[in-house]
């Protein structure tokens, strides 16, 4: 069994000092700050379709680039156009300190300096060829350092949530979507105040609990396999 933690040999001093700082909430993320050492800048793609709430345009471009490799949609898949924008929307609802950490992580992931310290590479992620980008993703994913694996988990989750939360992906996944005719968007909302509780399909009143149970009510809309009627 492989034990917790990582290094089979002592890492170079520079890396070791980084590791000790920890990832989220630690100083290493500051490495992701823009523009150091005059290294090459982020390659931007298309401009965002709508104004961004949390991400800067460079960060947006990084998310677009990594989402393309993580999702790798087949030819019949819905396009990736809105993924980075959707990630921005997901982040907009998060706590400000979480937003800041994600922005720093994106910067670190793109950063030439961090790329150099981690893997001797001086090109930003967005300027790499697709197979090189996959290699960088694998390095983070399979890293001996927990903090890089944590970072990979965060970036992967963001990209996948940004894409697969669109219902336009359902057909692609052969997911039929929720059953029809059960959700009632006009159902009454009860707030007490002396008003009687409205009727509801499943409501089970306290008084009923005094009796014995009826046998389980085989739901009319289901078959024995638990699949709802189309």
């Amino acid at each position: 069994m492989t034990m917790q933690t990582s290094a089979s040999g002592p890492p170079p001093l520079s890396r070791r000092s980084l590791i000790k700082r920890g990832l989220l909430g630690g100083g290493i993320l500051l490495l992701g700050g823009a523009g150091f050492l005059g290294m090459r800048s982020t390659r931007r793609g298309k401009a965002p379709p709508r104004p961004l709430s949390v991400l800067g345009e460079d960060e947006y471009a990084v998310v677009e680039a990594l989402a393309a490799r993580i999702i790798a949609p087949a030819k019949d898949a819905p396009p990736l156009d809105e993924v980075a924008w959707n990630v921005d929307q997901l982040l907009a609802a998060a706590d400000p300190s979480a937003q800041k950490e994600v922005k720093q992580l994106i910067g670190l992931f793109e950063s030439a300096l961090a790329g150099f310290l981690f893997g001797g590479r001086i090109t930003p992620f967005t300027r790499l060829e697709p197979d090189e980008q996959d290699q960088v993703l694998r390095e983070w994913q399979q890293s001996r350092l927990l903090l890089r694996r944590t970072g990979f988990t965060a970036l992967k989750t963001l990209a996948l949530a940004g894409y697969y939360s669109f219902s336009s992906t359902w057909a692609y996944m052969k997911y039929p979507g929720p059953p029809k005719d059960f959700h009632d968007p006009s159902a009454a909302v009860w707030k007490g105040g002396g008003q009687p509780r409205p009727d509801s399909p499943g409501v089970f009143k306290a008084e009923e609990s005094e009796g014995t149970f009826p046998e389980v009510e085989a739901a009319t809309a289901t078959d024995a396999g638990g699949r709802h009627a189309p």
Binding site: I70, L137, T153, P178, H183, G192, P201, G202, G225, G226
Partner: protein, 519 residues
């Protein structure tokens, strides 16, 4: 119905700073708080409840994950341990986790109450004492066994696999009434068939005078001497979930913290009530592994009652080893996509097999070995909105993880799976039971395979020893005479079964102490 008129008040209705008083203030509307509120209002007490999440009902339960996670889950379903090794699924709306759980009910196992009596001094907590509480709850919440002919294909695979292997397997009892077997319990029941707190004890208590404030986030308890006097809350905008600059202040004779594991310790810590570092320690998560089986036939694991079969074959593995219990997980698109192993083409091809996938889960019963300390909940620096959950998983956890992953795959192959894959980032793909050995050489480390927690327990353990317990055997917070903790955070260990019914039972039992404290 009492003379007192109860109400559910949402954040949009509170436009100016508000101060209310009550005999009891309960923080949290989940399994613990709701049952407690019902018991107290039934005794004629004047109760105010604060719930941080929104008031969401079947009117909004559209069975779409993209709506449900931001509205019904803690941290938009992104709550996790600090290293992201364990994703923590926990509810955050009126009804708490009961609004989004999978309706699985177990009484507290006698082996657990025995541990709590013998190792933690909970001498009064016998199965005989709890029985009448469980019986009453089972009636009100319509808890009954789900019939074999109604189980879905996902659960049938677990049933058949266990049957072939001669493993223990039984039907699960569920808190549902007129269940339409849709399969969307985890995103809010659209037909109120789930007998969650949202549709049972909370409205029952409101009819008895409970004033329930939704979108009201308790930030701090004010303590004077050995008494808590006030609960300070901030009101959030239901539309944006952001604070709207309005304060809600509750003055009460007695306060019960029922925010659940993780959030209850956090509120106490924000209030400076750390009991010398005990609060937040001994948090247990039932860390869970998932095994994905690929079948030729359609499974449709998104459809039908999500959990109806369980196996306790490996719950007791003898001294020094961590046991686990086996159930299924429904598979819905978003959570599947973010959980599946790898990235790129391999990930995509698995996602595209969604209808043919089966998921079985092993949940580790953590906290029962003498040397286990569990996870620790702390506040993060730089503002009080975020928490830290740190879980340093030990070799004993990883041993159980590895062996359970083998057993899950065996069950799936026995049930006819063509292929079984794990959630390792470097995917482990097995085409028959002959390849189970791949799991021995797979990496068992944080963020190399995916773990989940659907059950959060502990952090304010009950017990008789002041050195190790946060609340007394009467659930009183040590050092503060009129402060109680009533939720899953009082468990001294994990349970080895799904916790909702135990939380209901302890709250119903513990209500006597809270009521008795109202002078």
């Amino acid at each position: 119905m009492s003379d007192r008129v109860g109400r559910i008040v949402t954040g949009d209705e509170l436009t100016a700073d508000t101060e209310v008083s009550a005999e009891v203030c309960i923080v949290g509307s989940g399994a613990g708080g709701a049952v407690l509120a019902h018991e107290l209002t039934a005794r004629g007490l004047d109760v105010v409840m604060l719930e941080e999440g929104g008031y969401h009902t079947r009117r909004e339960f559209n069975m779409d994950e993209a709506w449900a996670y931001p509205n019904l889950y803690q941290e938009m379903a992104n709550r996790a341990t600090d290293d992201l090794a364990i994703r923590i699924l926990q509810g955050r709306s009126v009804g708490g986790t009961t609004t989004i759980n999978w309706t699985t009910c177990f009484r507290t196992p006698p082996r657990i109450t025995q541990v709590w009596r013998e190792r933690f001094g909970m001498a009064a907590l016998t199965d005989e004492v709890l029985r009448p509480h469980f019986e009453a709850l089972e009636k009100r919440l319509h808890i009954h066994e789900w019939p074999l002919e109604q189980i879905n294909q996902n659960n049938r695979k677990l049933w058949e696999g266990c049957e072939k292997l001669g493993y223990d397997h039984k039907l699960i009892r569920r808190n549902v009434h007129k269940c339409a077997n849709l399969g969307y319990c985890g995103v809010g029941c659209p037909v109120d068939a789930k007998q969650s707190m949202l549709v049972t004890f909370l409205p029952d208590a409101v009819e008895k005078g409970l004033r329930l404030y939704a979108n009201a986030s308790a930030r701090r308890l004010e303590v004077s001497g050995s008494r808590v006097t006030t609960v300070h809350a901030e009101v959030r905008d239901p539309a944006t979930d952001k604070p709207r600059g309005v304060k809600l202040v509750v003055r009460a004779k007695v306060v019960a913290v029922s925010g659940g594991a993780i959030n209850s310790p956090a509120l106490l810590l924000r209030s400076g009530l750390d009991q010398g570092g005990k609060v937040g320690r001994r948090t247990f998560l039932h860390p869970s592994l998932v095994s994905v089986g690929i079948f030729d036939e359609e499974i449709a694991a998104y459809s039908g009652a999500p959990q109806s079969v369980y196996s306790h074959q490996f719950i007791d593995r003898g001294p020094g080893k961590i046991g686990w219990f086996t159930e299924t997980s429904p598979i819905h698109p978003v959570v599947a996509a973010v959980s599946f192993a790898g990235f790129g083409e391999g990930h995509r091809e698995l996602v595209r097999k969604l209808p043919n996938l089966n998921a079985v889960v092993a949940s580790l019963a953590d906290g029962l070995l003498p040397d286990e300390v569990g996870a620790t909940v702390k506040l993060r620096g730089g503002g009080d909105a975020r928490l830290s959950v740190h879980y340093d998983l030990q070799p004993s956890h990883w041993e159980a993880a590895r062996v359970s992953q083998v057993e899950l795959a065996k069950i799936q192959f026995a049930a006819g799976a063509k292929q079984v894959v794990t959630l390792h980032e470097a995917p482990v793909v097995m085409n028959s039971e002959k390849e189970l050995g791949k799991l021995d050489s797979a990496p068992w480390e944080r963020c190399r395979t995916r773990l989940f927690s659907a059950h959060q327990m502990g952090g304010c353990p009950m017990g008789s020893d002041p050195a190790t317990s946060v609340v007394t055997p009467e659930l009183r917070f040590r050092g503060v005479d009129n402060l109680f903790v009533v939720d899953g955070s009082i468990f001294p260990t994990s349970l080895g079964v799904n916790p909702q019914q135990t939380i209901y039972g302890l709250a119903r039992w513990g209500a006597q102490f809270v009521a008795g404290s109202v002078a």
